[in-house]
């Protein structure tokens, strides 16, 4: 290797820390605090979802039946796989295998882009069906025997669906950007077993965004199938 582990560590130690250990603990701790704020950020939407789902249960079930479960389930699987490759990538950085790290993170990005692609297909479907809140919103159950019970309340379901998945997708886009940056730095051999906290904290972020989807999927796609 061109630069030794020790040189990388010395180069990256910021002036206000006593040693690498303090710096690494601090940045990881900071990321956990940031994720706490993210939980509260999504928490507002989850609260709104809970309130309206309990008030307008039937309308929410009808809205939920418009979801493409197979695409949603595929996306869930894609994200879980991406979390695995991410975790392995962090491990590779920690054990000093920069090439392996780059490969694993590239796969992670591919999974992330795959998720966004599938999400775009779903969005397109909803858009063409007028299942987008606002003046052009129009809702049909698709079954003439069961007209929609309350399209206005189903519109609230779709408002929340777009807001929650949209915000999640935005986080995915940011995540893809962050992982790309780690890959570029990885190609420049910027990380070593004594300095890999950027890889670690981007990994934490990535897992968090996956975890949000793990909650979004059942809440939005899997409301009772017995009704309607």
């Amino acid at each position: 290797m061109a630069t030794s582990d020790l040189q990388i560590a010395e180069h990256n130690l910021q002036h206000h820390f006593a040693d690498m250990e303090q710096q690494q603990e601090t940045s990881t701790f900071g990321m956990w605090m940031f994720l706490l704020t993210e939980i509260m950020f999504f928490g507002g939407l989850f609260t709104a979802y809970l309130v309206y789902r309990s008030s307008y249960y039937t309308a929410f079930v009808e809205g939920s039946q418009k979801m493409n479960i197979w695409l949603g389930a595929t996306n869930t699987a894609v994200l879980i796989c991406s979390s695995l490759t991410m975790a392995l990538g962090v491990r590779a950085a920690q054990t000093g295998k920069p090439k392996l790290m780059v490969v694993l993170l590239l796969i992670t990005i591919l999974f992330g882009l795959g998720f966004l692609g599938i999400k775009a297909v779903e969005y397109h479907e909803h858009w063409t069906n007028h299942e987008f809140p606002g003046p052009n919103f129009h809702f049909e159950t698709g079954d003439p025997a069961h007209p929609p019970t309350d399209p206005q309340h189903t519109e609230i379901y779709f408002s929340l669906y777009w807001a929650m998945t949209g915000l999640h997708a935005l986080h995915m886009v940011i995540g893809v950007g962050l992982v790309s940056w780690i890959i570029i730095m990885g190609l420049r051999r910027a990380y070593s077993p004594s300095y890999y906290s950027p890889v670690e904290i981007v990994g934490l972020y990535w897992h968090f965004v996956d975890l949000v989807w793990i909650y979004l999927f059942p809440l939005l796609y899997l409301i009772s199938k017995k009704h309607g």
């Binding site: 206000h16 939407l45 709104a48 309350d150 807001a163």
Partner: protein
């Protein structure tokens, strides 16, 4: 004239680098604190201008100076600017930014670049909100209640909401930085039980910033989306629930008043102990009271909604929980008083402001208990009683504490002493002006005068004129410090490292501090506020 003129000027954070770029790209917490000081001072004067317009309109019972629409915009913009762009960043982002790393013996905050980012985010949010105000204003009140804000208001609600949304992230990043710094960057020997109370109270406020601000962010984002795309999350016509908005809004905005007051309480703890020459009475209780206020603050929000149509039973619970906040608040007030008892008190400007804080915060806090009781709240809800209560806590409390802190740490910040006589005069003006402004509003409110109207029945004129006269005195009290602080930068007496003979790591480094704060990392071997055992002795840095 300066007595000890140094022939070779020592390098410090102010003279280590020159030029606009060295300020705009700095990652030094002390310089970032100065950037914040300049920005929030500008916002304070803008918000103050709106306040003076309100007071001028209310000189006469008729609505003659401005139309009712303009009046609605004036009090909305006054509230938005003062709450989100002045009070919330005031003590944390200026004083906290400057002294917390010094107090914990660190070279900087944990994330210096994030700290700079937070200032840029603040500026972006401030410019967005100001643009919305210049291009037409906003008239929803600082509370943005739906469906008025989402459907009926014809003003720039989206711009103002996005401005606050953006600024929220600067507050989140500041809070995050404080929490991580206090956890991870303390000097050797500086245990939690030796931590200055200013750090404790900013830590508590930072917890609220980190946990509460994201909720207001998402709520205001939903308001903006609802206005832009006509979706129905909060609009009752579409089945949405306006009460949900109020719950989400106050879930942040009630704890937010503790973001505003807690750092102020920290300032008072530092000053009372220093100018009484005594250890803070019941240090542990004062420290834990900050945490208790932060925790309790999250479970009292619905006391803003007693007349909004929430269930009687939940109102009962929220009323009771709100009373509980009085306990840690009273612990602080009693402990400050007990600290002064038999202390050798010096009546210098920071202490005068601290006296003002303790008295006025007590009145503000006690009237808060009136508002937390279900029956009385129905009577005084949405009257000037609420306005007076809030301003007693926020202006009489927080702004006083901010002024106290600025005077206390000004020698450290600037390396110069401010003129003591002028400062005492302005402290007196602020105290008299403040009480003349807001005490009449308690009476008016109790007599039933509703807030947020630009005209009022003639029998309230005497009280309103008093209030406006007081506001003018208050304005002079705020202009004076700005003048003499600026004056002192050039002509003030050179400040020694520890002009107040205070304990605390920030006083063990030169004034102004060098860029890296300490020449060598201090090692703490003494208890916090150890005024009695080493009354005059200079404590040295290092071993």
């Amino acid at each position: 004239m300066a007595t000890a003129v140094q022939t070779v000027e020592r390098e410090n954070y102010l003279n280590s680098n020159y030029g606009i770029k060295s300020w705009l790209l700095t990652t030094d917490h002390k310089r970032i604190a100065m950037l914040y000081l300049v920005s929030i001072t500008a916002m304070f004067w803008i918000g103050g201008f709106f306040a003076m317009m309100i007071r001028l309109e209310l000189l006469t019972p008729q609505g003659d100076l401005v139309s009712s629409d303009t009046y609605n915009k004036l009090f909305s913009m006054h509230g938005i600017i003062m709450v989100f762009f002045f009070l919330i960043p005031s003590v944390p982002a200026v004083i906290g930014n400057f002294v917390i790393p010094l107090m914990v013996g660190a070279k900087d905050l944990a994330f210096p670049r994030v700290n700079l980012l937070s200032w840029y985010i603040y500026m972006l949010g401030a410019i967005t909100a100001l643009t919305a105000m210049v291009t037409g204003g906003v008239d929803t009140g600082w509370t943005f209640y739906t469906p008025f804000s989402t459907t009926y208001s014809n003003t720039h609600v989206i711009g103002a909401a996005i401005g606050i949304f953006i600024t929220g992230f600067s507050s989140i990043l500041t809070g995050l930085n404080f929490i991580v710094t206090i956890h991870r960057m303390r000097a050797p020997g500086l245990t939690w039980r030796r931590l200055p109370l200013f750090c404790w109270s900013n830590y508590a406020a930072a917890l609220i910033m980190v946990l509460g601000t994201p909720v207001i962010a998402i709520t205001l984002l939903l308001v903006a989306l609802e206005r832009a795309f006509n979706i129905g999350v909060f609009n009752p016509q579409l089945g949405g629930d306006p009460l949900l908005f109020q719950h989400l809004f106050w879930f942040y905005s009630h704890p937010a008043v503790y973001i505003m007051i807690l750092p102020g309480m920290g300032v008072i703890s530092e000053i009372v102990t220093c100018f009484s020459r005594k250890r803070v009475f019941g240090y542990e209780f004062v420290a834990l009271a900050s945490i208790a206020i932060a925790v309790l603050g999250f479970v009292v929000w619905a006391h803003h909604m007693f007349v909004a149509g929430i269930s009687v039973y939940s109102a009962l619970v929220f009323s009771l929980l709100s009373y509980f906040v009085a306990i840690p608040s009273a612990v602080k007030v009693f402990n400050w008083t007990a600290t002064m008892y038999k202390g050798s008190i010096r009546y210098e400007t920071p202490m005068l402001y601290a006296f003002g804080f303790i008295g006025l915060f007590t009145i503000g806090g006690l009237t808060g208990i009136f508002l937390a009781s279900l029956g009385l709240d129905v009577h005084v809800h949405d009257t000037y009683f609420v306005v007076a209560h809030f301003h007693y806590v926020m202006v009489g409390g927080m702004v006083m504490a901010y002024m106290a802190g600025l005077h206390f740490w000004w020698p450290k910040i600037s390396g110069r002493m401010y003129p003591e006589a002028w400062a005492k005069l302005s402290a007196l003006l602020v105290f008299v002006g403040f009480n003349t402004t807001f005490f009449p509003q308690f009476i008016m409110g109790y007599m039933g005068a509703p807030r947020r109207y630009h005209a009022y029945p003639p029998e309230f004129q005497v009280l309103n004129v008093l209030s406006t006269a007081g506001a003018s005195i208050l304005a002079v009290g705020y202009v004076l410090p700005m003048i003499y602080f600026l004056w002192s930068l050039r002509y003030g007496e050179l400040a020694p490292p520890n002009p107040w003979n205070a304990v605390g790591l920030e006083w063990m480094t030169p004034s102004p501090p060098p860029t890296h704060n300490f020449d060598e990392t201090p090692v703490v071997t003494w208890e916090a506020y150890d005024y009695e055992s080493q009354p005059q002795e200079e404590v040295t840095v290092g071993h």
